[in-house]
Subunit: 357 residues, 4 copies
């Protein structure tokens, strides 16, 4: 950490900074410059709270040299973390799983058909919301517990593991009973109470980047989960806010190699929310794989025209078939491959999911 003093800071003000750094248990190293003095704080293990220093008179700026996160950092753990949500469905290795399905679970027919279509096309996991965060209180909010039951049904029919969103502490426990991976949505990325809850539950978590979250913010939110002892965290780029209304969000694919350099956690991409436009999902899904994504999260609906939410960005089943085919070609061009669908559930027995917990 570097404390930059004002041009006209007095000797006493500089001395006070040095004193406070030492009170905090670190070493201070003053560095007089041509224009101004800076004071280095040496020994920061990533946990120093700079706001006390910012409050001192004569301080112009506090510059963070160390990263504020720790357990999520690749400096803390150099090798990739592999997150396994079901046997053979692993994020962070050479294989790239594709998670697909409708925005919302609407009925048994819909979700089972969707799961079959995902599976046949080559998807490795099923997504679908039982609890939906909607910007309007008057929009469809999901089927709730009934939706979770239908997801379990779809899994038993197809063997696909389930990724579904939790919106609050109570819901997180309900979701954890069914899902193979608990999704935390963009709007809840800084809901620290919920992050701690899913950290304690211990199941794999898919954490989506908030609409105005920097890469550092995203990693700090993941740090909350790891700090509770759960390192099974998949990060997800899903588009951020920007000034151009041409797309619903601005899909920041550079976030993929950025996160992969800074952290050992896998990073996947959601081109459906990332663009908000059905006809952009295919090229941007390809681009995500080419940028090095460890997985894709895609909205597909058996009949988008009938979807209760997000119909405009959901792929038709045949478009999803094409996406998987093209993703496979790109993955091979960079020496990776697409994770095949897991073995179907055997008749008369529950689907084997020994890795689930």
């Amino acid at each position: 950490m570097l404390v930059v003093m004002n041009h006209d800071a007095t000797r006493e003000q500089i001395a006070r900074v040095v004193e406070l750094i030492e009170e905090m248990g670190y070493q201070a190293r003053p560095m007089p410059g041509a224009q101004r003095t800076s004071v280095g704080l040496v020994g920061n293990d990533g946990r120093v709270d700079g706001s006390r220093l910012e409050a001192l008179d004569g301080v112009a700026d506090v510059i963070h040299v160390s990263k504020p996160y720790k357990q999520v950092s690749r400096e803390w753990r150099p090798e990739n973390t592999l997150v396994t949500i079901a046997p053979g469905v692993v994020f962070g290795g050479a294989q790239i799983p594709i998670i697909a399905g409708p925005c919302s679970v609407e009925s048994a027919e819909q979700i089972v058909l969707a799961a079959q279509q995902v599976r046949e096309a080559g998807g490795a996991a099923l997504r679908g919301g039982a609890y939906k965060p909607r910007s309007s209180p008057y929009s469809f909010q999901g089927l709730g517990p009934k939706g979770l039951e239908l997801l379990a049904l779809a899994r038993s029919e197809t063997g696909l593991p389930i990724v579904t969103e939790a919106l609050d502490d109570e819901g997180a426990h309900l979701v954890a009973e069914v899902a193979d991976c608990i999704q935390i949505g963009a709007r809840n990325m800084q809901n620290y109470s919920l992050l701690r809850t899913v950290g304690r539950i211990g199941k794999p978590v898919l954490l989506k980047r908030g609409m105005s979250a920097t890469i550092t913010d995203l990693l700090m939110s993941a740090e909350y989960i790891l700090a509770e002892g759960n390192s099974q965290v998949i990060l997800c780029e899903r588009g951020i806010r920007s000034f151009d209304p041409s797309t619903r969000n601005l899909f920041d694919l550079t976030a993929i190699p950025l996160v992969q350099k800074l952290s050992h956690l896998p990073m996947v991409a959601d081109p459906s929310h990332g663009t908000g436009l059905r006809d952009k999902v295919l090229p941007m899904g390809r681009a995500a794989i080419a940028a090095g994504a460890d997985g894709l999260l895609v909205e597909m609906h058996p009949n988008p025209e009938r979807a209760l939410s997000d119909g405009g960005q959901s792929l038709h089943p045949e478009q999803f078939v094409r996406l998987v085919r093209e993703a496979r070609a790109i993955a091979e061009a960079i020496g990776r491959s697409i994770t095949p669908a897991p073995s179907p559930a055997r008749e008369g027995s529950p689907p084997a999911r020994p890795g689930r917990q």
Copy 2:
């Protein structure tokens, strides 16, 4: 709602749009243009979910003409809503209350002293966090229930009503037992579960704008609270994300007259988070009043150098005195006034707060 068709949309595609609009219970009005056909949806009461229409083939865009919110709209209720958090402390009228206090409650001495300083300077309510949303899991997270007790103590000593933040459903109930107004922070602006909870509790709510929330998003979040039957909602501008690192956030003062035109709810401003810089709080607090703010929310600490959080943006007590004085001059210049501090608690009896429930 206007459904804009592609340049080369077929007659069948247009017919399908008309049909779906009628299925949804509204009237369709096709409007052939020089370049493309649009189809108007007539009869929208603000609750139409456009995503089904977006999903149709041949649709280029769905343009929302009606606002998606309803009960928060000034079209729904033309006169200002007055939100009373304590006798004489009313938001939305000609008088402008100033809420001030430290970022976090740290000790009995600190919060009582802060409350006395706020009161003496002319503040009308006390703020201070017992539960703090911090981006790092390793930063000070607030004193929790003990902090709430200390806030109650500060109120009994000074008569100032309390505004403090709740982070989750459980916390909201604890906060509601003590606070005169429950604050929902920027990171939780779209935590719909929490919004519903405070809607049901029924106490006044101060809802802060999220870091990447549009004005529409903010009003939609307020709609969640009103939809539960609680119209005692104060909105708050506190800075949004922007590309310039010169300030912590970009303080969007135009949001004040915008919200006041669109909604009947009071809109206050937080120049401390809005700028993140102590020496900008004074000019931007003045500017907020000049723009028409219905209140100010300001961080002040008896000793900012010793603050456990946000020290760098907290005013010194004497700076707060000056802020109130200058705010008063601006308020008078535009025909308003600053709400005086409420009567102090009488000795030997609990402070009178009949308006609290």
Copy 3:
């Protein structure tokens, strides 16, 4: 300047950084930390180009501690620069001039009437475009040289000095023959060729902030003008790009005290472009004064419905009267005043403008 090394930077990589800093003629001060080593560059006079250091192996980041600008800095010149565009019309002092007029010069009747209305209401200078930068090549582009003639006519009729925009080098010389202050628009803020030209011409310049310019970018662009020997520069906040379509731009009023702290140059505000909405010009003009603006730039049209450009954000004359009245009240509340209109031109003689060159 601080060169932050990677966690795993080798001793040789650090040595190379030290060596290059010394080659560049500065002192290097390595600072080993708990997580990584940083190397301070001491002696930076604000002209070090960090890109050579960024290019070295093992370098994670180059952090600029010194500001990249020089002559515009308040550290270079502590007292305010006063910019005089006509006798008695001075920017940067206690008096605050209001510049107003139509977006475009349209006819002799229109511009002379507008000038009379500005003058009567209490404006101190006339604005109006003879050259208009329009996003469409098919929109009205201004009257060109004829427009400049009409501005001169309006000045001779009212005595108001003229502020008008130049779009390119050739136009800058034409504008300079007539205008009292040459405006550089937001789109040309980084047109360095044009900045150098107006720097050499030597007349007062009003430089508008670009739509995505940081405060540092704005000051660097002003530095181009000062580097040519012209310190008569007025800076202008006019709104920046943001994600919320509620307003045309996001009016960043905090930029006013920020710039005034960093630089000795005056800083004015344009609430017309800053908001893009006529009914927001009044509150935001007041807010700009309260934030400390050294002037206002406002669009007013004798008949906005007939305006050839920007009619939707132009004030009606009677709204402008109210703006000046309210600005005056705010200015007085903070111990400043609004500059009165200059003395009218005497009949039979050209208007006296001895301060013009």
Copy 4:
């Protein structure tokens, strides 16, 4: 175009809107709704200036249904425009040219060596700045005319066509004498005077997206060039401003398929400026190809540590070799190919560039 009236607009106000639309030569179609009336403007050929309508009393909003651009639109010309900058170096077809070279031309040795390395690695054109727009007036501004001479030398040595930037009208004519394609940089994207000049010169133009330009803004700027009769325009995504300081810019790859759908012009990508980080150029260059880019523009320097500008984002020559190899693999995966380097210049004769004019 749709004119949305206020909730409480009077019958007279609506009638005035209808009247003005008819005065402007179009048809008005009023559409009363549940909440408010809208008035459709029928017959808009893309040239209607909505600001006159915005200025009318009772108007809440003017919504543009038609696109404001015309000649650049794919609705105007359905098939791709092919832009040929040298024999065999064509943008907009199945083959994808890679343009590479240093940020600035520094010396004969540097630029000739760079050109040879580009050629050997498989690049199809040479980039390098003779005129550099630098944010500081004290930074290296390019060699000017001498730099153009050196670019011509590099072309005669290698046969690679030249892409180089012009900063102003005078420079554009000088650049046009040497370059095969004139680059307009991001800062000049809305320098309409310069756009008109290069439109009239008639040589191929590479137009970079401005830092805060929407897709519509970019297309409108291209429209300026086409409106002068020059349709040889290549568009370029190079990163936009965002709130996350992790990267210099935010590389918006979705802009590629967006532009390609809206326009017939080719769209290339610059991952060097798009990310500002050398180690992100490789993955994001691959991603750009996968997203459908019609070309790449990449900074490569024979010795980045010695570069006078942008060293930190320039590839080492061996990294560029790898980029071309991986780009080729991705291109093949999507059924395209990388344009091979053009035939080298024959000894004793000037390089054949029949396609240049």
